[in-house]
């Protein structure tokens, strides 16, 4: 009983860690070469030297840009408690200029205990921001602007970026603009007037190396010995974990998974799944947990869709494939039906159904997104006449037919003939 409770607590702890990126990226940030150290140096120097700065953090989605930045900001806020205020914007939310200035004004008001007016206009808000920048500069206080999804701010007139960077040209202000983006060409998106005011400092975030990965796994999955967890349980858990981490089969599983995408967040998703499979009875992670998690997280949606189809729907797919092989440049439901009839006439299949039944099957396929209309506009035309296309390759279709439990032999034959 005590064991189960401890296991539950351990599971909660592990899940909590996996959902908290700042915990995950902690061990990757201690070396002087790491992005953490570089970023911290740049920001702290501009805080202490009271200068303006701008920097871009670039890297694929899920490589921990924001997490590392949050770690840095947390440390700096501890180091210089009254000298920094952070304004966080996200391109997903504030790509609209009006919204962005409003949000900046709101956060500035919250930071400095001022009254925020919802009714303030675009002009009021932007002037308020510039005034605040000047005030903070005079008080030797640095404002750090974090622009997440930086590339989205570069849409449209880029008024936000321009006024931010332009305000930083004066010596009175004291601000750091940090852009975070997964587009490596984010600085190329900027207008000339914005680009000339930008510092072009860039930090690249790369997926972890194999050694880092192993260190990371140990860091995330091992239990702390100095917590409320029973000590002997934690020791035993960690010992088993070390055994498993050293296991060649385990490494193989992890590497096959990381082949498709090597970023840390991708790994976290997998670990989350595996950890949720942990057996609460024994309370230990086992290799089986990871092995069952692998096929469950690496899904093949198109193949699943095909195996979900009914036999009539498979017939329609094969008919469409045949039409494509015949190099008919566009076809619709009617031509599929003539092909269907032709197959029926030549091979005398047992599955020949009425047109409206086929039409329903056709619409099911469209719902499954195995096929789609080639044009978006022909809404006033009925379904039968709108040209369609297949959304799966012939290889996928063939695989799907092979894995289908009771696929009619004739369909397999027809597909083989095409290939």
């Amino acid at each position: 009983m005590g064991r189960e409770k401890a296991a539950k607590e351990a599971l909660n702890l592990l899940r909590g860690r996996l959902c908290d990126p700042t915990f995950v990226f902690k061990p990757l940030s201690d070396s002087p070469e790491s992005n953490y150290s570089k970023l911290k140096f740049i920001i702290s120097s501009s805080v202490t030297e009271a200068c303006n700065n701008s920097i871009l953090l670039l890297g694929p989605r899920g490589s921990g840009k924001i997490a590392v930045l949050e770690l840095v900001l947390k440390d700096l806020l501890l180091e210089y408690p009254d000298m920094i205020s952070v304004i966080r914007l996200s391109g997903l939310l504030h790509s609209d200029d009006n919204c962005a200035f409003k949000e900046i004004a709101r956060q500035l008001c919250v930071e400095h205990d001022l009254l925020f007016s919802k009714m303030a206009s675009f002009d009021d808000n932007s002037q308020f921001m510039i005034a605040m920048l000047r005030e903070c500069g005079l008080a030797h206080k640095t404002i750090i602007f974090v622009l997440n999804e930086f590339d989205l701010f570069a849409q449209g007139k880029q008024r936000v970026l321009y006024s931010l960077l332009d305000a930083m040209q004066s010596i009175t202000s004291q601000a750091v603009v940090i852009g975070v983006s997964c587009r490596l060409d984010a600085d190329q998106l900027l207008e000339k007037r914005v680009r000339s005011r930008f510092s072009h400092r860039k930090l690249m975030f790369l997926p972890p190396s194999k050694e880092d990965l192993e260190r990371l796994l140990g860091h995330i999955l091992s239990l702390p010995l100095d917590s409320t967890l029973p000590h002997d349980y934690a020791v035993e858990f960690n010992a088993k974990l070390q055994n498993m981490l050293a296991d060649e089969k385990f490494k193989q599983t992890i590497y096959t998974y990381m082949n498709s995408d090597a970023t840390v967040n991708h790994l976290l998703r997998f670990l989350f799944r595996a950890v949720s499979y942990m057996d609460l009875g024994s309370g230990f992670l086992a290799l089986e947990n990871f092995k069952t998690a692998l096929p469950n997280i690496q899904r093949q949606p198109k193949l699943e869709c095909i195996t979900d189809c009914s036999i009539l729907e498979l017939y329609i797919l094969v008919c469409m494939k045949r039409l494509e092989v015949k190099e008919q440049n566009s076809y619709n439901f009617n031509s599929v039906m003539t092909e269907y009839k032709r197959i029926h006439d030549t091979f005398q299949t047992s599955d020949y159904y009425a047109r409206n039944v086929c039409l329903r099957a056709f619409e099911h396929l469209q719902q499954r997104e195995l096929i789609c209309f080639t044009d978006n506009r022909g809404h006033n035309q009925s379904v039968e006449f709108r040209p369609v296309k297949l959304l799966i390759s012939s290889y996928e279709l063939q695989q799907g037919l092979k894995s289908y439990r009771s696929c009619p032999v004739i369909l397999l034959k027809l597909m083989d003939r095409e290939a």
Partner: protein, 538 residues
């Protein structure tokens, strides 16, 4: 059936929860509107069920339910966003809701089907979180007006932290004794159903990445996000890119699963099982969706039971065979029907239909052809339908030769030797016809053809014309025109003729006939109108 009609007002019902027996246990009394809501209203609102009940109420969904429970984890444990997907009527929504009933945790359910725009979606979530109910007192307004994701995030953060603090306070207070209906844990889950519809929204390119990134934006470990979608995660890929949620797949039911599902709640299991032996396999070749199959099975089962005098009987081999031979003629015809609405027919019509179906049984492979029209239509409407069909099918350039004073087109003239080239041409022309669908025509052309064919019909069949005099088939005068326009608009309403967009050159409205050739042939036959004479064959 009577049970389900009782006034059962629970906060959440799904399509299939009406049929789950567990849902019928509790009849929650309606909350009066002046009663203020508490955080306890964020749970399912009925007595929690055990895991065994949950598993047994959804046959052959054991693996998915266990997986969901595992991924949701013990109470108070953080969770990465989940993405539940699978075809329609595979039990996604029901299972997630019943799972929350089992776990008894707080959640906010919103379907993108009913919340059809970002604003309605956001406001619905906020209303539920802020325990606000629209009523006459507040003029059916939402608690917050919120259209932009930016505002939504601020409101949501505020509302969530309030709710979570409340839940924490509750659980701290009630550690000694647990109240009934009290939520377990302080995690709040947001469920977004029918997510695939968001892709069709105006602002889908910003809303979808926003929803998928909501967890990272809010950074609250006490928040769980669950997306439910008909389509697989790969259909959401865009140039934006996003962190994929953890996928949970609900496959379509297999034939054996379907048998288990249909066997539930059957009065006479033996009879139904022998019925399923007969029908399930052929129907599964067409569709494996529970909803479609159940609509197809209901009338068939009634047919199957017809020879039985006592419904409680245990069928033996010989009886099964008799029932099978009784049902067999109906299977083939109902396989070829999408859905049939049976109007209550008079006994004579019933027997009539019986005979007809026997006749049509042999040729079920094609379209079911019944010589008579199964609806009534005035003669002038029939002529109008035919002329619309002709206008759609025939090229306009041939009108003059088709409808000359002689009436009719001389087919003999067109006979030519079919060389290889002309055969090819014919094939491409056929292809084109299949692709293009019926052509469009202006109103003037329709009226001209209508005039021509009615005048011909008058000449040939005088007697019928006498009868139909009142119906507006009169020699060109003003009365006819107004009548015809009326008929035309009613044909448009009945969807026999589609009113298309206006022609860019002429600026007049163009029409298009949607009726099939078989149907027009039937209409023509009922009028004894020589349709084939006027039809241009390519």
């Amino acid at each position: 059936m009577g049970k389900e009609e009782s006034p059962r007002i629970t906060r959440r019902t799904t399509r299939s929860s009406c049929s789950t027996p567990v849902a019928n246990n509790v009849v929650e009394t309606m909350k009066t509107s002046d009663e203020s809501l508490t955080t306890n209203d964020l749970v399912f609102g009925e007595d929690p069920i055990t895991l065994d009940d949950l598993l047994s109420s959804f046959p052959s969904r054991r693996a998915q339910i266990l997986e969901l429970v595992r991924l949701l984890g013990p109470s108070n444990s953080p969770m990465l966003p989940l993405f539940i997907y699978g075809g329609p009527s595979t039990g996604k929504t029901s299972i997630i809701l019943q799972t929350f009933r089992h776990l008894n945790r707080s959640f906010v359910y919103s379907s993108c089907l009913t919340c059809y725009s970002p604003r309605i979606l956001f406001e619905s979530i906020l209303n539920q979180l802020m325990l606000h109910r629209k009523n006459a007192m507040n003029g059916y307004s939402s608690v917050k007006r919120c259209e932009k994701p930016a505002d939504f995030v601020n409101f949501l953060r505020e509302a969530l932290s309030n709710v979570i603090n409340n839940l924490m306070g509750n659980s701290g207070k009630l550690n000694t004794k647990r109240l009934v209906g009290q939520a377990h844990g302080n995690t709040v889950y947001l469920i977004f159903d029918n997510l695939e519809l968001v892709r069709a929204w105006d602002k889908s390119s910003t809303i979808l990445p926003f929803l998928f990134n909501l967890y990272d934006v809010l950074k609250m470990p006490e928040l769980g996000l669950i997306f439910v979608s008909n389509t697989s995660p790969d259909t959401y890929y865009s140039s934006m890119g996003y962190i994929e949620p953890v996928p949970v797949y609900f496959p379509d039911y297999t034939e054996d699963d379907l048998r288990q599902i249909f066997m539930r709640n059957q009065a006479n299991r033996k009879v139904y099982s022998s019925f399923l032996d007969v029908v399930l396999r052929p129907f599964c070749r067409i569709t494996r969706r529970v909803d479609e199959l159940s609509t197809a099975f209901a009338p068939l089962f009634a047919k199957y039971c017809e020879p039985l005098s006592d419904l409680g009987v245990v069928p033996r081999e010989e009886l099964k065979r008799r029932l099978f031979s009784h049902l067999q003629p109906h299977i083939a015809s109902s396989l070829n029907e999408v859905f049939k609405i049976s109007s209550q027919p008079s006994p004579e019509a019933e027997s009539n239909k019986e005979m007809k179906q026997k006749g049509s049984r042999r040729r079920f492979a094609g379209c079911e052809e019944i010589d008579e029209l199964d609806f009534h239509m005035s003669t002038s409407a029939k002529y109008l339908l035919i002329s619309a069909f002709l206008a759609s099918r025939n090229p306009a350039t041939l009108d003059a030769s088709l409808f000359d004073s002689m009436g009719g087109f001389d087919n003999r003239k067109r006979k030519r030797k079919s060389s290889q080239k002309s055969l090819e041409q014919k094939e491409t022309a056929e292809q084109e016809l299949l692709m293009k669908g019926p052509g469009t025509f202006p109103l003037e052309r329709l009226l001209a053809i209508f005039q021509c064919i009615t005048s011909v019909a008058e000449g040939s069949i005088d007697e019928e014309e006498q009868e139909n005099e009142g119906l507006g088939v009169q020699r060109g005068d003003g009365g006819l025109m107004s009548d015809v326009l009326l008929q035309l608009s009613s044909l448009c309403n009945a969807n026999f003729i589609i009113k298309g967009g206006s022609c860019p050159l002429e600026g007049s409205t163009r029409y298009r006939s949607t009726v099939s050739e078989e149907m027009v042939l039937k209409v023509a036959r009922s009028l004894k109108f020589p349709l084939s004479k006027y039809l241009y064959r390519r």
